[in-house]
């Protein structure tokens, strides 16, 4: 329950102006501005990257592994996410993969191939397993963490299949290079939540991925190499089934359930999860839920505009329709189910004692009613209600609200004027 959270999303204090733009966009109310700088409440952060997207000063950053981390290994395998192909205009997938081999990797394994395996396994699960409906995809780690923090009752809806990234790493380590010494496996990532997933795995004790390289970090060097490639090696094997996972709708199309929906963008995901909790969606079988707009191509570690990337990836995947995995028996030599349960992170809980918590809640409502209700963010909290929570939990005070502060000043000023009028009558101030 209390596993230590290590995050990819961090703050560059020097760049932060304390402008409060990020606080109102955070889906878990995990940011406060204190002493003129944003501060991330670590156990609430789900690494969705929403603050990175909204920060006008580019002070929110995602920390991934540096490229020189490759030097620690003697045999390096790159695992490019499907979204990576969409970063390059009119560059065949074979050329991108060949370029990865030229830049320092010894081999490549497409995460799109692993996504095909996950698609087939998900379809089987939908057919055979009678768990609560709708089943929710676990491929977006930010969504899984959102469920842990804000929608704990939906944990039993989450599909317990490893992500394509983990499946790919396991295929490389267990099947392709089982005895290779000095083997390092690197995911070429569109998103910070994947970085966190490698450090603090979901559904696993340990991730088999050794490092996560941001797509935007490797892009400039790779682009130069791509220009020099005349005859690319024939390396791409994945079919459209897996490549489509890089954009919204792709996964649900690959899973091919008639009663499925796909939702992208964290705010839309929250609305859908709310409705699942009210049982509005029990007639839906499968939900693809992506935190980023447009799906993984909208990740904050990508380079290309997400809408261009999505359209491009659709085009690229169509060219790879008639290949890939056909027989589910040939999938993997290992079980791709989760090996570890996930639990709720009740970080919103006010107190361990329920009577005490109810008392605190009453106090919060009382204070909230006194606050202006503008949710202006000037106090450093995202909403008036969250300021009321912070006050009751001892992290803030009423006068942090500039409107309350102004009223207090007015009161004190009035008292001073009143005091001044009450000057002793023994002196005549006019005849000084």
């Amino acid at each position: 329950m209390s596993e230590e959270y290590l995050h990819s999303v961090t703050l560059d204090k020097d760049l932060c102006k304390g402008c409060t733009n990020c606080i109102s966009h955070c889906p878990t109310e995990a940011i406060r501005v204190r002493d003129g700088k944003a501060m991330i409440i670590s156990n609430r952060c789900i690494d969705c990257g929403q603050c990175i997207r909204t920060c006008p000063s580019h002070a929110k950053k995602a920390v991934s592994d540096p490229l020189d981390m490759l030097n620690k290994y003697t045999f390096k395998v790159a695992l490019p996410a499907p979204s990576f192909y969409a970063q390059f205009k009119n560059v065949p997938i074979d050329t991108v993969l060949t370029a990865l081999k030229k830049i320092g990797f010894d081999d490549v394994y497409e995460v799109a191939s692993a996504a095909e395996i996950a698609s087939i396994a998900t379809a089987e699960l939908l057919e055979k397993v009678k768990s609560p409906r709708p089943m929710i995809s676990s491929s977006c780690p930010a969504v899984v963490r959102l469920i842990q923090v804000r929608f704990p009752s939906l944990i039993e809806h989450v599909i317990k299949i490893q992500t394509p990234m983990e499946i790919a790493a396991r295929i490389v380590k267990n099947q392709i290079y089982p005895d290779k010494r000095g083997l390092g496996v690197f995911f070429i990532s569109p998103c910070p939540a994947k970085v966190t997933s490698v450090r603090v795995p979901l559904g696993n004790e340990k991730s088999e991925v050794d490092g996560v390289i941001a797509q935007k970090d490797i892009y400039p060097a790779l682009r130069k190499i791509i220009k020099t490639i005349d005859k690319p090696e024939h390396l791409s094997k994945a079919s459209s089934l897996g490549i489509r996972w890089g954009h919204s709708d792709g996964e649900s199309e690959a899973v091919n359930s008639k009663k499925s929906i796909s939702v992208d963008g964290i705010d839309h995901v929250i609305r859908v999860l709310e409705q699942i909790e009210s049982e509005d969606f029990h007639h839906i079988e499968f939900i693809e839920a992506m935190a980023c707009p447009g799906g993984c191509v909208g990740g904050t570690l990508t380079v290309e505009n997400p809408f261009i990337a999505r359209s491009r990836l659709k085009r690229y995947s169509m060219a790879c329709e008639n290949r890939g995995i056909k027989d589910s028996d040939q999938l993997t030599e290992f079980d791709i189910s989760w090996t570890k349960e996930i639990y709720s992170h009740p970080v919103l809980k006010l107190s361990e004692n329920m009577s005490e918590a109810i008392k605190m809640m009453d106090e919060i409502e009382k204070i909230d009613a006194e606050l202006p209700g503008l949710d202006c963010g000037s106090c450093g909290a995202p909403t008036c209600h969250s300021l009321a929570e912070d006050i009751v939990t001892g992290k803030a005070q009423k006068t942090d609200c500039i409107f309350i502060l102004r009223d207090e000043i007015k009161k004190v000023a009035g008292q001073m004027a009143e005091l001044e009028r009450r000057m002793p009558q023994t002196r005549n101030f006019d005849k000084r």
């Binding site: 909790e277 009210s278 049982e279 329920m354």
Partner: protein, 137 residues
């Protein structure tokens, strides 16, 4: 802890506000997830009923460490035959409401299934009061 809501009729956008607000507060006071789930489903259903059939109304919710009590009062047409309304699949919703995916019947039985105690007081022509009680722990 007491929460009060005034829900207008014929505005499906606002239907659900009480259950989603209550959900967050129950999480914050540490109520068990399975209890929260039942509460949300029962209250949401009752809320939707109040908007569709009752023309809106008032919701009062009281939470103590032992139970959650919800009272929904509307001044709508009332329920002519409560026993009939309690049957699975029975619905009087209009086509417009059904097109939004609501009004498939099952409302009242679903509330009963998810609550520990449920009471309906209804007077045709005057309105309906639905009381839902769910035990905590």
């Amino acid at each position: 802890m007491q929460l009060n809501f005034s829900i207008p009729g014929d505005d499906m956008d606002l239907a659900g506000i009480a259950s989603s607000t209550l959900k967050k507060k129950l999480q914050q006071i540490g109520v068990d997830n399975s209890v929260i789930k039942r509460t949300v489903v029962a209250l949401y259903e009752a809320e939707i009923n109040m908007v569709i059939h009752g023309g809106g109304g008032d919701i009062t919710i009281n939470v103590t460490p032992t139970e959650i009590q919800c009272e929904l009062v509307d001044h709508g047409p009332g329920i002519a035959d409560v026993n009939l309304a309690m049957q699975e699949g029975y619905s009087t919703a209009t086509d417009a409401i059904r097109e939004m995916g609501f009004g498939a019947g099952m409302g009242l039985p679903n509330i009963q299934r998810n609550s520990d105690h449920m009471e309906i007081h209804t007077v045709p022509g005057e309105g309906t009061t639905v009381k839902i009680m769910i035990k905590i722990g």
